[in-house]
Symmetry: C2
Subunit: 121 residues, 2 copies
Amino acid sequence: MYSEKVMDHFTNPRNVGEIPDADGVGQVGNPVCGDIMKIYIKVKDNIIEDIKFKTFGCGAAIATSSMVTELVKGKTLEEAMQVSNKQVAEALDGLPPQKMHCSNLAADALHAAIQDYLSKK
Amino acid sequence: MYSEKVMDHFTNPRNVGEIPDADGVGQVGNPVCGDIMKIYIKVKDNIIEDIKFKTFGCGAAIATSSMVTELVKGKTLEEAMQVSNKQVAEALDGLPPQKMHCSNLAADALHAAIQDYLSKK
Ligand code: FES
């Protein structure tokens, strides 16, 4: 049912945690299951220097968040804004259709974190 | 939103894994989010000697399964059959209402594993 990459990021997620002095924080909820995804970013010279996520969500939510943090770390805010839920799912070699609402949390929370940073500037 | 016990069992779950030569295996699916819970038991002299679980489910599903395995390890099959979803939620100091469908997986999968064992005997 799940690709090897999904299982890898689920059982060994990257960048889990909080950034207490984050420059931007994004939070989105999953309307289907009520789970919440939170992403913290640290920005310097328009670059995402550090990024962490926290969720109580399922394996698909954990795997996609882990992947999205790896994809955008070190990237510019513009590049990070362009990362789509579809690209994250593709980077994981796909996700089951009934898990798409879980996997959409990751990029949405990232974009919310960037918007939070920009609105504070 | 979540009790300390829930967070403890989510971040440090007990008895995660598979039992390759299990005496009984129970599997149930979550109709809301599509997640699956699997419980393996090893039985000797009517006692649950070993128990492990595997899920791709959310934090509530992980915490309740971890708790249910602790509650029934070393208990008789009859005692384990009587453990209810409600008791597991109470042992965790409660769960948010929108997470009840996730937490119901654990005791259901346990009972399915016991039934599997009894049917094979
Ligand atoms: S089931 Fe809640 S995030 Fe996937």
